[in-house]
């Protein structure tokens, strides 16, 4: 295998989705949120790549996979500035920004130790609250606010 072959495998995607500008330490959480741990498609991830905006950034490339907006927007919780590139036939055919969903289900954990969701097998449910850059979550059940530590 030549040097350029290696480059090709890592960087070029014939068809699929590229998620760029993810904070490096949240790449694995992003895979989690998008349920990519069990996929059969090829996934390339990059961590601690140089970025002009973030200093270091993470990137995820998933071949032959295209997401619904609703699915991708869940990422806004952990990576509000991530960009989405849709690739078809080696070309970027669409670029998207994420939008914060009003409600999230089954992602974060409620920080209240007395919340029912921490004691019984219940899917968590939150309303998102955005104040400037800060994201926090209002628990649908115990009505307490979970800050971003509960999300990452």
């Amino acid at each position: 295998m030549t040097h350029s072959d290696k480059q090709l495998i890592v960087s070029a995607l014939e068809n699929g989705t590229v998620l760029d500008h993810i904070p490096s330490d949240r790449v694995f959480k992003a895979l989690d949120i998008l349920n990519l741990k069990d996929t059969g498609n090829r996934i390339t991830i990059g961590i601690n790549l140089t970025s002009r905006h973030l200093g270091k950034k993470g990137i995820i490339k998933i071949s032959d996979t295209f997401f619904e907006d609703e699915e991708l927007n869940k990422l806004a919780l952990i990576a509000p500035n991530a960009t989405v590139n849709i690739i078809r036939d080696f070309k970027v055919v669409e670029k998207r920004k994420l939008q914060m969903p009003a409600e999230v289900e089954g992602i974060a954990k409620c920080m209240n130790p007395k919340c029912i969701t921490n004691h019984q097998p219940i899917r968590t449910r939150f309303t998102t609250i955005c104040r400037g850059d800060e994201i926090s979550l209002l628990c649908h059940y115990c009505e307490k606010i979970t800050d971003n530590k509960g999300i990452y």
Binding site: C110, N112, K114, C115, I116, T117, H119, Q120, P121, I122, C139, H140, Y141, C142, E143, K144, I145
Partner: protein, 301 residues
């Protein structure tokens, strides 16, 4: 899905006023029988005297029957049954579930799995909406109105769920608030933000004397030992306010003292004989308000 009452914010202003109106009807005549043949589940996963007895009395006075438990230790919950399964099972038997549970959010969850209406009789430190409605009823009965009153809340404003829910409910009626608490137990920022957003005025003080003569309702609360993790912190604040009869010389004539009870030391017994004491009557009002809640949710009023 059937209508439940989990949090005071589940009721609109109109629904709140409707329930209070209905409670008035039941105060005039507490012998009602229109729920004859109904069975109501009273599930108390945590001990309670006042709330459970008044709910169960309400059910009986409406002509319905009660099944349930007042302690989860003798039930299959102690065998590890999930809340979901208990609620699903009881839903099959009864027309309504009244429940108290130590975990926060448990009642909301129960209302999502139950096929019948659920009334939250307290979920940990979270919500206790029937208390809030009986507080509103007591305010309405003593002042003749809810609009434009000054409410002075005293004591543990940090952990006290009754003050938080009352604040939310009163926000429909253009109130002014005075918050009297020690520094350690001040009203949390999120509730002050809530008031700011609605342009509702409030002031904070740590002196009980300070706001005593300027209010229509003096809402006293107990500093609850069970909410403190540090016993030293509790010792510091436990006896911080003690209201006695001689402090009431300059209060407004219409002023009434409310307290969700039980009291420990914050209201001296000599206050009981003054015309301002209303807390025992307030507890009685709980019966009429709970009769009204049950009748409304079951579609009879």
């Amino acid at each position: 899905m059937s209508k439940s009452l989990i949090s005071i914010s589940d009721f609109t202003k109109e629904e709140i006023l409707h329930v209070l109106e209905t409670a008035r009807e039941f105060e005039k005549d507490r012998v009602q029988n229109f729920l004859t043949g109904k069975v109501i589940g009273s599930l108390f996963f945590e001990p309670s005297t006042r709330t459970r007895l008044s709910f169960e009395t309400a059910v009986n006075r409406l002509g319905a029957r009660v099944i349930g438990f007042s302690d989860a230790t003798n039930t299959s919950v102690s065998k590890g049954e999930t809340l979901k399964d208990t609620i699903k099972m009881v839903s099959n038997y009864v027309d309504m579930i009244i429940m108290r549970h130590p975990l926060e959010g448990s009642s909301r969850y129960a209302s999502e799995v139950a096929s019948v209406p659920v009334v939250n009789a307290g979920d940990g430190a979270n919500q206790h909406p029937s208390q809030t409605l009986l507080d509103l009823y007591s305010i309405l009965q003593t002042q003749g109105r809810l609009e434009g009153l000054t409410i002075n809340m005293v004591g543990d404003l940090k952990y006290g769920r009754t003050t938080h829910s009352l604040l939310q409910a009163m926000s429909h009626f253009n109130p002014t608030f005075i918050f009297t608490s020690p520094d350690e137990l001040k009203m949390p920022a999120e509730y002050k933000t809530f008031l700011d957003e609605r342009g509702i005025p409030y002031r904070e003080t740590s002196s009980l004397e300070d706001g005593l003569n300027d209010c229509d309702i003096l809402y006293m609360t107990r500093v609850q030992q069970e909410r403190f993790t540090d016993p030293m912190e509790y010792e510091k604040v436990k006896d911080v306010y003690q209201l006695s009869a001689r402090m009431l010389g300059g209060v407004r004539e219409n002023m009434k003292i409310l307290h969700p009870l039980p009291r420990v030391g914050e209201i001296c017994e000599d206050v009981d004989d003054t015309p301002y004491a209303y807390y025992f009557k307030q507890a009685e009002n709980g019966l009429y308000v709970r009769m009204a809640i049950i009748s409304y949710l079951l579609g009879y009023r």
